[in-house]
């Protein structure tokens, strides 16, 4: 077989092979080809997405580390900072949901402690097919157990997340994990292989033949054809990772540590070439020195294996034994297998003999960028309908029951009950509210974190959908009393070679960028996952956004549950005539139709400013934003969470179903003592936001009367007990049938 044919078999294109010839000035050998094939895969190189990702705003005075490192870092004041990142593990989770999800969490955690930060919280964002499908139930239960067992064994609380079910994810579930860590400004470590003569070490687990070509596997569509290149699956060992984390955090206290990098996708090769490229240096290494757990491993296997729980450590020459001592305490290996050079080359030796040699930067950054064609999908125009032709449903109680019974709206306690939410004794608001709140020991501060996505809105309108996600994530922090600071994104799409998919990708990024810029919440890290397609369908375009905000006084945090009978319930923002994209249309009436709700960024900004200020001033007892299921579901959630009720009459020009179940944006429900209303109104007027009193908190039931010109045109009358029962058991009853 010629080198060109071999390159093709490894997934490299003709154009890429020509580029390699140009870089090397000769034909590559098999080892070198393997290195390029994994490093130039979409998963490692972002060759399909780079030009578009440049549109993200990544700057801001609060940003200490933007994209390009293991994780992004944002300042929270008092010399403290938060490291955060989202990463996907979609394809492995489709094949082996337990290990796929577990190692996804594991990789994410490593990215955080690699920066020197101690992980303090995990979140996850999960997408599966319909729960009516047996295989989906298996994927769902195993993925949740896999994420849970890994995080639980690591002693890191899982404080939040989201789960959605839709047929588009049936073949290709999405598993995104997010990790948040805390670090002092002066302790930030970066992944650089600087200083000629410094030692390059591998620490942690031994290397085996697991996860071979995992990065390439993640960069193609899922199929039943198994590549005969060893298993692309990785197997996680959270105990080893816990030891590795403690050892690394101890190691990173020393100023003779030059750089650290996680050995994630593409293992040894990615960590060495990326650290060398960042420092403008080279690395010479001997694969025979890497501890191995499989017999007779070939140089290319050692270079590209994705065995878990390993790290690359670069230390000043002469400190190798200090590293070994620390790792021995934690029962881990630490072995020097290379040296930093100044010639820019990644030189690979086997028992002292050179077996491969390529410019490090060409692997890390030299991939030819692919300019993809982008085309507006035709389906988008077909999804617009005339809503006046849809009759208003008479039984609005029944609609509410159906919505609360939707797994996409119902309680996710069955999921997060499997996650340790409180280890670390920092969890102030646990999963189940709009965002989690975590206190920072030794300060008055807290942070709020959330992860959000809405693939359905993005399917209907990628641009508006992208905008909405950032707005919603920020709103979730604001209703918890936190000022949003920065975001990390997980961009999950189908095959980017299809112009319609690329259009979705571009427009979602544009939407995210637009709101991120206007709300001053820069993008500081992220992940792109393409090729999320099965034989029959592509997933909804599903960008997800993880966001962190700060509370200067954690005691002032706010939650969504109604607290006190007699409190007034006030809507911040306005009800709009929007029924498109609603869960009501899609799941109750079985109509998939847009337009997705529009986001007015200026209005959103004002609503958030007003809400945050009201919480800071201590005016309100609860705050909750209106999202899936609309106003009625949001009120029901406040009642269920507080085990209280609501009574109110709402005067409107809108159809009752639009008013109750439409998903118009930029709306927040507040409850507050009556005597605080005038201060709130004054504040809202100054900022330029409308407020309206919806009703009051009472015991026992949810009663809403919708009125048009004094006439009752629709009503909801249900007991809190009944709606809580439906909402609590919706997922459980589907699984346990």
């Amino acid at each position: 077989m010629t080198a060109r044919e071999e390159a093709k078999k490894l997934g490299l294109t003709d154009l890429e092979f020509d580029e390699i010839l140009k870089i090397l000035g000769r034909e590559p050998n098999y080892l070198e080809l393997s290195l390029y094939s994994v490093m130039w895969s979409e998963h490692c190189s972002y060759k399909n997405s780079k030009p578009v990702l440049k549109r993200f705003p990544t700057q801001g005075p609060q940003v200490l580390q933007g994209p390009g490192e293991n994780a992004g870092i944002v300042d929270i004041g008092d010399n403290l900072a938060v490291a955060m990142k989202v990463e996907s593990h979609n394809h492995p989770s489709a094949v082996d949901p337990y290990q796929g999800a577990a190692t996804g969490a594991g990789g994410m955690i490593r990215d955080i402690f690699t920066m020197g930060a101690r992980p303090i919280a995990l979140l996850n964002s999960l997408r599966f097919g319909c729960l009516c499908d047996d295989r989906t139930q298996y994927l769902f239960e195993e993925a949740v157990a896999g994420i849970g067992d890994y995080g639980n064994a690591m002693g890191i609380p899982t404080v939040g997340g989201e789960v959605y079910f839709d047929d588009s994810y049936k073949e290709n579930p999405l598993v995104n994990a997010m990790c948040v860590g805390i670090i002092k400004h002066d302790k930030i470590v970066r992944g650089k292989a600087a200083g000629v003569g410094n030692s390059v070490m591998v620490v942690g687990a031994a290397t085996g033949r697991d996860g071979m070509h995992g990065a390439s596997f993640a960069s193609g569509e899922l199929s039943d054809d198994n590549p005969d290149q060893g298993s692309p699956m990785q197997v996680g060992d959270p105990f080893k990772e816990k030891q590795l984390m403690e050892a690394c955090l101890e190691l990173l206290q020393n100023d003779w540590v030059v750089g650290v990098q996680d050995m994630g996708a593409a293992g040894v090769v990615s960590s060495t070439c990326e650290t060398a490229a960042r420092a403008g240096s080279g690395i010479e290494l001997d694969v025979a020195l890497v501890p191995q757990r499989d017999k007779d491993m070939k140089p290319h296997e050692i270079m590209i294996s994705e065995s878990q729980e390993r790290m690359l450590v670069i230390v000043e020459k002469g400190h190798e034994d200090d590293v070994k001592k620390i790792f021995k305490k934690w029962d881990l290996d630490a072995v020097k297998f290379g040296t930093v050079t100044d010639d820019g080359m990644l030189r690979i030796l086997e028992n002292g003999k050179v077996v491969g040699e390529v410019p490090a930067a060409s692997l890390a950054e030299g991939v030819p960028i692919v300019k993809r064609e982008s085309k507006r999908p035709v389906y988008m125009d077909k999804l617009q309908i005339d809503f006046s032709k849809i009759p208003v449903t008479d039984d609005l109680n029944e609609v509410l029951f159906k919505l609360l019974d939707s797994p996409n709206i119902a309680s996710k306690a069955i999921v997060y009950r499997q996650f340790d939410q409180t280890i670390g004794t920092n969890t102030v608001v646990a999963p189940g509210s709009d965002a989690a709140v975590i206190r920072i020991k030794g300060t008055k501060k807290g942070i709020a974190v959330s992860v959000d996505g809405n693939g359905y809105y993005c399917y209907l309108d990628p641009y508006e959908g992208g905008k909405q996600i950032v707005a919603e994530a920020a709103r979730n922090l604001v209703v918890s009393g936190a000022k949003p600071l920065a975001l990390t994104d997980g961009l999950n799409f189908g095959n980017p070679e299809k112009p319609e998919v690329y259009y979705q990708f571009e427009k979602c990024v544009d939407g995210i960028s637009e709101v991120s810029k206007k709300l001053n919440i820069p993008v500081i890290s992220g992940n792109v996952s393409f090729y999320n397609e099965g034989k029959f369908s592509a997933v909804y375009p599903t960008p997800i956004v993880g966001m962190v905000g700060v509370l200067d006084d954690v005691n002032k945090h706010c939650t969504m549950n109604f607290k006190k009978q007699g409190d007034l319930v006030v809507l911040l923002g306005e009800n709009t005539d929007e029924l498109g994209g609603s869960t009501y249309l899609q799941e109750v009436l079985n109509i998939t139709a847009g337009p997705a709700p529009r986001l007015d960024i200026e209005l959103e900004k004002k609503v958030q400013t007003c809400c945050l200020k009201a919480i800071e001033l201590g005016l309100v007892n609860s705050a909750h934003d209106v999202v899936q299921g609309g106003l009625a579901v949001a009120l029901a959630e406040c009642c269920i969470a507080g085990n209280l009720g609501f009574s109110g009459e709402i005067e409107t020009d809108l159809r009752p179903d639009t008013l109750l179940f439409g998903e118009g944006q930029s709306r927040i429900i507040l409850s507050l003592p009556e005597e605080n209303l005038s201060v709130l109104n004054k504040l809202a007027k100054e900022i330029g936001v409308k407020t309206s009193v919806l009703g009051f908190v009472k015991s026992g039931g949810l009663n809403i009367q919708v009125k048009q010109r004094e006439q009752v045109v629709g009503k909801i009358e249900v007991s809190t007990e009944r709606i809580a029962e439906i909402w609590n058991n919706a997922i459980k009853r589907r699984i346990e049938k």
Binding site: A153, G155, Q421, R439
Partner: protein
């Protein structure tokens, strides 16, 4: 009161226990690494924290119970020092033979993390003397292997000797089946040894010790020990942070 928190390989709740002893109780506290030993006279209270030592491999607590430090823990127990095993720490005490019985996987085979209610069955212990008998308190559980099991003879002994200290119950103190989500025999949440100086419990009192975390029911367990050690002096430090 001199406190020690043992750090087993893979302990996760060590920092939480350290934090409570130091910052909430205001007592001197030290970490003891599992590869070290210590002298019994150096400490009054020795805490075996929660987590997943050795990744729960083999059986939870089984490998940690063979750590070097365990010999010192046994010496301290024999010297009458107070030993508190929480979650995984309870499992280690069982595996080390310091408490009777064993832990099975939870009845629904899943990790279970939630606030639950427990009833105080015996307040005549160094760990519970600030609670009332029959009092219902709220604590957090977070475990996969919290389903306590003992053979008939052991169970009889626990009962006749009044060594069942806490049991799972509903908010009104009734031992309903739904209030025992882990499936524990006789709803057992905590037991003590015959001498009464060792307590193992599955819920996490150290996570329920501060207003900001929404629950202070657990701090009284630590205050109870402190009062016992310091001879009747009650420290009101639940609001310190």
């Amino acid at each position: 009161m001199n406190c020690a928190v043992i750090q087993f390989a893979g302990s996760g709740g060590d920092g939480d226990c350290y934090h409570v002893c130091k910052n909430i109780l205001g007592q001197p506290v030290e970490y003891i690494f599992h590869k070290e030993t210590f002298a019994a006279q150096d400490f009054d209270l020795i805490i075996l924290p929660g987590g997943a030592s050795h990744g729960d491999y083999l059986r939870p607590g089984a490998l940690a119970a063979r750590s070097k430090v365990i010999k010192s823990v046994i010496d301290a127990a024999n010297a009458g020092k107070y030993i508190l095993g929480i979650g995984n720490g309870f499992q280690i005490l069982l595996e080390a033979g310091l408490l009777p019985g064993t832990m099975l996987i939870n009845k629904d085979l899943k990790f279970y993390s939630e606030d639950i209610f427990v009833r105080v069955e015996n307040n005549a212990t160094p760990f519970t003397n600030l609670y009332k008998n029959g009092e219902v308190i709220r604590l957090t559980v977070a475990c996969k292997y919290g389903n306590y099991y003992a053979d008939k003879k052991t169970m009889e002994q626990l009962k006749t000797q009044n060594k069942i200290v806490l049991t799972y119950c509903d908010i009104n103190g009734n031992a309903a089946e739904a209030s025992n989500p882990l499936g524990s025999m006789e709803n057992i949440a905590a037991i003590a040894n015959q001498e009464g100086n060792i307590l193992g419990l599955m819920p996490h009192p150290e996570r329920c010790a501060e207003e900001i975390l929404g629950n202070t029911d657990g701090i009284r367990m630590f205050q109870s020990i402190l009062q016992y050690v310091e001879g009747g002096k009650i420290h009101d430090c639940s609001r310190r942070s």
